[in-house]
Symmetry: C2
Subunit: 295 residues, 2 copies
């Protein structure tokens, strides 16, 4: 079996949490909640254990890993081996890597996830830590080296940089800044109440928002000065709502099982390329004003 | 002669304002400042007339156009015909279009700009109004139909959508929303203290920030539902600091006179593609923390 990862951009609603329960086995699910990222682990554990239980999980309980000693304790292995799903809450992603990184828990979890025994879920910080290169900060405007700080993540999903609370916190500039520095990594920006579900080399988008994929692989020019704006010419951006898929190594979006290229030829240029789903009222009407400032 | 447009993203510093004076003829420049967009035209006129004068313009004075009657008054023609540069301040771009649109001033200014007699400058709202389709509002998060509102601009630069205060106000999502609806228009997001200078079918980037070009022309899939996230697969993004150029109808970036494709073959994939200019200290070091929130 392949690793199944359900990676949520924060503020996940019941539909996404229910999907995690279902993936973990529904009435047969045995879910562990790890709130290591949180400054208030009691509340985080209570929230997610309660949510998973009320959504029909066979069992859900907290696994408290507050220190590296906890994460290396021999009795943790038994808990992990009995689990069908492991869920990481939000908080500070560097608390996850500093407490778990390289411990017996980390090693065993990698093994159980890779062989498909355990479905791994995470939200917010619990999403960020899943990538090999982890975004740990940076909220400056613009596309600059200083707009993003990164560190090593736990590498459950290689080849990507994961950002979260993406639309809500306006983080496209920092994801562009990150892929300009590391163009071999695909940037994945996951909105709140939105998730990716991996399936081998593909992922599917779930939830009410979108996943923004930033691909600097085809960029024709990248310059990252120590200060001032980055030059990044020719990056590809894909904004993908629920139902869309993405092939990670092929670096191509699709819908359902198919890539867009398989589905239909490219339509001609022009405004008629915009399709509005049947029953829709079309885009919001133009109008209103926007003070741009007097300078 | 070709139309010269100097289009600034707001908060323009002395270097950009001096460039406008130079383009208008320096000691021979006769500059008109039009503060129609501003709610406080006295202050805006005083600021720019003072700035252009102190930067060496032969003359600079305000042309007050507060009503459509002002913009249709016969005596305006004489002022415009005597000018070498016309500058639009910031404020509300819809005040510019509602007061000037279709008036004698509008018609004559189009003619004088097209034949190269007048250099046209504008900042903030004075930049937004130069495109054919003008962004008038929208500051919601995410890429959605409701994230941007548009209306007709004065069409000094066709084929583009211009946004301003771009990095500072985190507007990439609204520019993506706009080009998803109108993929034939190139989205140009101009940072503060940054400008584009047009030269026929090309523009050059000036100033301390960057210009972000969003090109949905090659998108393989666009869906704009009336509510919820837009799907936009395969859009190109170019982040271009000073010194970079862009060919508008060719839709390709370059440096100086050359497109990137002319300059060098595409380097191989991998992190070594990131170049740090000589003397630079490299990207900011990783480290620090970023609370992602507990949910």
């Amino acid at each position: 079996m392949d690793a199944r990862l359900l990676i949520m951009g924060g503020a996940a609603g019941p539909a996404l949490l229910a999907r995690f329960v279902e993936l973990a086995g529904a009435a047969s699910a045995r879910i562990l909640v790890i709130a290591t990222a949180s400054e208030a682990p009691d509340a985080a554990e209570e929230f997610y254990v309660g949510a998973f239980t009320s959504l029909g999980a066979g069992s859900a309980r907290a696994l408290r890993l507050a220190t590296r000693a906890d994460a290396n304790a021999p009795e943790v292995a038994g808990s992990l081996r009995a689990a069908t799903g492991v869920f990481f809450t939000g908080g500070d992603q560097e608390r996850i890597t500093s407490v778990l990184g390289g411990t017996a828990t980390d090693s065993l979890l990698q093994e159980l996830v890779v062989d498909g025994t355990v479905v791994l879920g995470g939200t917010s910080a619990g999403a960020a830590m899943m990538s090999a290169t982890m975004i740990v900060g940076g909220d400056q405007p613009g596309v600059t080296a200083a707009s993003v700080r990164t560190g090593p993540g736990l590498e459950f999903l290689p080849g990507v940089l994961i950002d979260q609370h993406f639309a809500q916190r306006g983080r496209l500039n920092r994801l562009l800044s990150a892929v300009a520095r590391y163009p071999h990594e695909l940037g994945l920006g996951i909105d709140e109440d939105t998730a990716i579900l991996t399936d081998g080399d593909r992922f599917e988008v779930l939830g009410s928002g979108a996943v923004t994929v930033v691909d600097a692989g085809a960029a024709t020019d990248i310059q990252v000065p120590p200060a001032g704006p980055i030059a990044l010419a020719g990056a590809l951006v894909h904004v993908l709502p629920a139902g869309h898929t993405f092939h990670l190594t092929g670096r191509r979006p699709g819908i359902g099982e198919h890539s867009h290229e398989d589905r239909e030829p490219a339509p001609p240029a022009g405004p008629e390329r915009v399709s509005v789903p049947a029953g829709g009222g079309g885009p919001a009407p133009a109008g209103g004003t926007d003070r741009s400032g007097d300078v």
